[in-house]
């Protein structure tokens, strides 16, 4: 809603400046998005009067004019074809700036004759863009030589641009509606426009018969016929008010209907009376497949749930949305059938949306107009038409309104107002708030009876009135308090805390937290080499995706991090690491009958150089053991218990470099190097590593750290180097050592792995440092030797290890 300040003053003697008014309106919920100066760009331009015209001595198409600019005369040269002595024209003097031009105007010479500035066309002033606007100089209707051009054009004004919420849209989408809000704010009275209907004509009575088929879809249809009109441009003041409101002036007949709609909020339509067949108006649902060419020239195919205005033969308008071309008013129109009606909001909304025809009228009908305001608007428009088009009233008002709607009665418990708002308003104050909105309050009973005029269709129940009291009283005057009572127990779900802790550990390892979209592209499944039977292929599809790449809900999280890696790789970043804890969406059955499982996953991914070594150290690069180290660090940090790593065969991962992770014996996910073909499909330079872990299953294992008393007796260290075949995993070696050593083994560290000369091919050398310690006494060398020998023997017999030390 665009509110001209100058126009608003027709209805209320407001003495706030536009900026103050904007602030006050915003504070009561009519958010003012901005203030516009419709005359911006016309600064410095003047009104001039052409006193004489003479042909240019040396140029056929130019004329030399003497122009009165109030404080004197100036000479101008112009090539415009439409100049005449006595005309008022826009004048730009040297130094003035025309809209859209960077530089200031200078005096110029045209073949020896000086032009002290220029006369401007509508187009040059930035006020129009039609052929006619460019063809000649703008001829002004009003003003005196020397007047500011903006004032002569009635553009010395400020437009308040309101951003209306749906509830205010009902009663504030009109100048009078806004004026009522200003009245509420200021205590001033609203001045309703005077409606002076001319006497009805004698003799030439016109007739029309109105039938409404479904009064639910059209609760009221009223009409008048205005005859012997002359179609012509509207006066400047009306044209400019329409423009400031964002509408284009067309001719007086159409402009009046729009003007009254903007003024009162009631959309109107003018039919060419002579083109209405059999002088009948029938408001009915459209026939299936019925065709109508609307005013925009488009042929529309209608449905049974559209509502049409028809004459005896055909549809002549799409009710509440747009008129039909077959009854359009134009230069030849002499008699007008004026419609002021009320239609079913949802029907209008549905039709206008389906056809993509959203107009000022359909918008207002969709939000609901005041059924009891039809006649006032009809009369106001009829009076204006008679005034501006020279017409006479020859029929009406014809008013089909079978079920008049009385004002609504709403019960309001005054105690409830204070209870909800936290205020201590007296009954007097509350009633006063409501009365300032034009509601009437009967306070005889404990629950008050509040009568709400039908124009406030947004007020339906008690709580609506409570909001109105708060609004009028002022949100800023409601005291700020802190809710009393006990704080509810801090159920910071363990999960949230563990998640935060995990994040800290992972960030400490150099992984960056990522946030990714929840969507999958179907092609992701192939990029990931998922086999046909994989359950991750059971994607939940969106019914109305924005684009193909976001058409499904993800069933895996790590591919989103692969995308993040790819994005960075394509931006010349040499490497990096990500983690995200986020949901995946898993369907049991498709199409969904019930809400799907949303499972929280912890995913990680890394590629390239994760951390530069700086100028001295060695860089950290993405690899299986880096990722395994991260997972182990996480498990230690969260005290998750025992981890185990088993071979795994996920097709998205490198067949020889992936592991299934078990936490206290329960599988919780997979990690490893991404299959080179998958890395290639995602366009990440390899090697790339990733993990996909079931976060809930993992986090469940979090325990209190287990305290053990510190060792009181010294430890004895022994090293052990052995050569074993490649097939024997290190974990097996460690298991043999641990089993053989028994309780005296206090620690085991693998400190070297070596392959190559002199170790025979197919084998590798492993070097361990073992720590022996007893909690009860200092171990003797003999005791340690005995145990260590047992370990050596076990390695030899069980693993056929070749002991090197």
């Amino acid at each position: 809603m665009r509110v001209s300040y100058e126009w608003l003053k027709d209805y209320i003697d407001v003495d706030l400046s536009p900026a103050e008014l904007a602030e006050r309106l915003t504070a009561v919920g009519l958010a003012v998005e901005g203030l516009e100066d419709p005359g911006a760009g016309l600064a410095g331009l003047l009104v001039g009067k052409i006193l004489s015209l003479a042909p240019h001595p040396d140029a056929d198409r130019l004329q030399v004019c003497q122009v009165d600019i109030g404080k004197g005369m100036v000479q101008m040269v112009s090539g415009a074809p439409n100049l005449a002595v006595g005309q008022l024209v826009p004048v730009a003097l040297p130094g003035a700036k025309l809209p859209g031009l960077e530089s200031r105007l200078q005096a110029m010479e045209f073949r020896g004759v000086t032009s002290q500035g220029m006369l401007c066309s509508t187009w040059e002033l930035g006020l129009g863009d039609t052929e006619a606007d460019r063809a000649g100089i703008m001829i002004l209707e009003e003003g005196q030589p020397g007047d500011k051009l903006s004032s002569a054009l009635r553009l010395d004004d400020v437009v308040l641009v309101l951003e209306l919420t749906p509830n205010y849209a009902v009663h504030c989408q009109s100048m009078l509606g806004v004026a009522r809000e200003v009245a509420m704010l200021t205590g001033l009275a609203v001045k309703e426009p005077a409606i002076i209907l001319p006497d009805s004509a004698h003799g030439a009575e016109k007739r029309v018969r109105v039938d409404v088929v479904d009064t639910e879809l059209c609760p009221r249809y009223s009409t008048r016929i205005i005859s012997d009109l002359e179609t012509r441009p509207s006066p400047l003041w009306m044209q400019q008010r329409l423009r400031k409101a964002g509408m284009r002036p067309i001719n007086n007949l159409v402009d009046v209907t729009n003007y009254v709609m903007l003024e009162m909020g009631q959309p109107l339509h003018a039919f060419d009376y002579e083109r209405v067949q059999d002088k009948r108006i029938i408001v009915r649902p459209a026939l299936p497949g019925e065709l109508l060419i609307t005013l925009d020239g488009m042929e529309r195919e209608l449905q049974e749930d559209d509502l049409v205005i028809a004459d005896a033969k055909r549809a002549i308008g799409l009710a509440g949305v747009m008129g039909g071309e077959n009854t359009e008013v134009g230069p030849a129109t002499r008699h007008v059938l004026l419609e002021s009606a009320c239609f079913h909001p949802t029907t209008i909304g549905r039709t206008s949306r389906r056809l993509g025809l959203v107009s000022e009228a359909s918008n207002r009908f969709h939000k609901g107009v005041d059924v009891n305001g039809c006649i006032r608007a009809l009369d106001r428009a009829a009076a204006l038409l008679a005034q501006l088009g020279g017409g006479r009233l020859t029929a009406g008002p014809i008013d089909v309104y079978p079920h008049p709607v009385p004002p609504k009665q709403i019960l309001l418990r005054p105690a409830r107002v204070n209870k909800v708002l936290g205020t201590e308003l007296s009954g007097e104050e509350m009633a006063n708030c409501l009365e300032r909105l034009g509601l009437s309050v009967r306070r005889e009973t404990a629950a008050w009876q509040v009568t709400v005029p039908t124009r406030r269709g947004d007020l339906q129940e008690e709580v609506d009135l409570i909001e109105e009291v708060a609004r009028v009283y002022g949100y800023d005057r409601i005291p700020a308090t802190i809710p009393g009572g006990m704080a509810s127990e801090q159920l910071v779900t363990e999960q949230t805390m563990v998640q935060e802790q995990a994040g800290q550990i992972l960030r400490g390892c150099g992984l960056n937290e990522a946030v990714t979209y929840s969507f999958f592209d179907r092609r992701d499944l192939d990029r990931l080499q998922l086999p046909a039977f994989a359950q991750q292929r059971r994607l939940i599809p969106l019914a109305n995706p924005l684009r193909e790449e976001q058409a499904f809900m993800r069933t895996l999280l790590f591919p989103k991090l692969l995308e993040a890696c790819a994005f960075n790789a394509s931006h010349q970043t040499l490497g990096g690491a990500f983690y995200e804890i986020g949901p995946v969406y898993l369907a049991d059955d498709l199409p969904l009958q019930d809400l799907p499982a949303e499972e929280l996953r912890l995913a990680m991914a890394a590629y390239g150089e994760i951390m530069s070594g700086g100028w001295s150290g060695r860089p950290v690069t993405a690899g299986f053991f880096w990722l395994k180290g991260v997972i182990e660090t996480l498990a230690q940090g969260l005290h998750l218990g025992e981890l185990a790593f088993r071979p795994s065969d996920q097709p998205s991962f490198h067949p020889g470099r992936q592991a299934s992770l078990l936490c206290n014996g329960v599988p919780v996910g997979v990690f490893g190097e991404i299959h080179p073909l998958v890395a290639e499909a995602y366009d990440i330079p390899g090697p790339v590593v990733a993990a996909e872990l079931d976060w809930q299953a993992l986090a469940e294992n979090k325990r209190l750290p287990e305290y053990r008393p510190l060792a009181r007796f010294p430890a004895v260290h022994r090293d052990l180097a052995l050569i074993v075949p490649d097939e024997i995993p290190a974990a097996r070696v460690a298991a043999v050592i641990t089993a053989a050593a028994g309780p005296l083994l206090d620690g085991i560290v693998l400190f070297d792995v070596y392959q190559g000369q002199p170790v025979p091919a197919g084998s590798r050398s492993l070097a361990y440092s073992l720590t022996y310690r007893s909690p009860e006494r200092t171990l003797t060398d003999a005791e340690v030797d005995a145990v260590h020998d047992r370990v050596r023997t076990a390695l030899q017999t069980e693993l056929r290890a070749n002991l090197r030390s």
Partner: protein, 340 residues
């Protein structure tokens, strides 16, 4: 004898003073005080002296010995200090070389913002509640008093999975879920952070974004409590100089409803580009829980009242850091992430 001692002393003093290293000093010590040293030799030669002279000479030699030891010690300390100084001088490093790198992953600025907000409300006695992202259309709309023909239910704005299941467009369905779960217990005091979805994609709209919902239901909860709670939040989030204002607004699930502005964090309220010269930044929507929503949650609106609020994490972060493109949050560009 006396002259002998004094000559030794004299020579030794010169030798000690001239010694250039601890090694030199050590050989000097040996030549004077060692087993075969000069003073030692003197003592040994005492046998040949008159017994009456012996104590006198002994005392003299011992004094000289003490003197020499003192001199040697002092000189040694001098030399030690100088040698240390010389060594340290050669150990000088280029302190302008960069420090050794340590890994430091960053918290995503969105999550950091969300956690900061969560912590504030947790400290005010709120608990965290959660709900599914794929939500019943009923809970996302109807239970929140958003009727079927409401513009918010336009297919254009929401992602649908089936006719009945929608990607939640707001965290507000968690309000209803929590109430249904907790009724008839009081108080309800929760925040619900999470992902939400709208069918929109441009510089200021992302199809996936994050909200935090708040809900308090109890006997005697007032709009004043809503104001006080949000003011306390704004102080903690933006600093004690922050002012807030509530403007009437419209949300189907609250009434009275309000938009909340905080005084601009950039200009402090005098007007700047970020706040569009108004001095205010709109940060959240809120209101008193609509009686119908309380009823849908299983509470009697005549017995309890409540307030609710919801804020967009992206918006908070964008305003806080002056980020102008919402898509940056989801690209996970290291050049972006590392700035926080």
């Amino acid at each position: 004898m006396r002259e002998k001692v004094e000559r030794i002393l004299q020579q030794a003093q010169e030798g000690i003073a001239a010694a250039k290293s601890q090694q030199e000093l050590e050989s000097l010590r040996v030549s004077l005080l060692g087993k075969k040293g000069q003073l030692t030799a003197l003592l040994r030669g005492m046998g040949e002296l008159d017994p009456q002279e012996r104590p006198l000479v002994g005392q003299m030699v011992n004094e000289a010995r003490g003197q020499l030891e003192q001199l040697l010690k002092e000189r040694r300390q001098e030399l030690e200090a100088r040698e240390l100084q010389e060594r340290l001088a050669t150990e000088r490093i280029d302190i302008t070389l960069p420090g050794l790198p340590f890994p430091r992953g960053r918290e995503h600025v969105l999550q950091a913002t969300a956690r900061a907000i969560e912590r504030i409300f947790l400290s005010m006695g709120f608990s965290i509640a959660q709900g599914p992202e794929l939500e019943w259309d009923y809970l996302n709309f109807e239970a929140l008093n958003i009727p079927a023909d409401h513009p918010a239910r336009d297919m254009q704005d929401s992602f649908y999975v089936t006719d009945e299941i929608v990607l939640r467009t707001q965290t507000s369905p968690v309000q209803v879920r929590t109430m249904q779960q907790m009724t008839p217990n009081l108080p309800v005091r929760i925040i619900a952070p999470g992902r939400v979805y709208r069918r929109d994609d441009d510089v200021t709209h992302s199809p996936v974004f994050h909200q935090i919902e708040g809900l308090v239901v109890d006997q005697d909860i007032t709009m004043g409590d809503l104001k006080g709670t949000l003011r306390a939040f704004a102080y903690r989030m933006y600093g004690p100089q922050t002012r807030i204002r509530l403007r009437p607004s419209y949300f189907p699930f609250t009434e009275p409803s309000a938009e909340v502005d905080v005084s601009c964090t950039i200009c402090g309220g005098t007007g700047c580009r970020v706040c569009g010269e108004t001095g205010w930044l709109e940060i959240l929507g809120c209101g008193m829980v609509h009686p119908r929503v309380l009823k849908n949650g299983g509470y009697d609106p005549d017995r309890v009242t409540g307030f609710a609020f919801g804020l967009g994490i992206e918006r908070v972060a964008m305003l806080k850091y002056g980020i102008d493109d919402i898509r940056l949050f989801y690209q996970n560009d290291f050049r972006f992430l590392r700035q926080f």
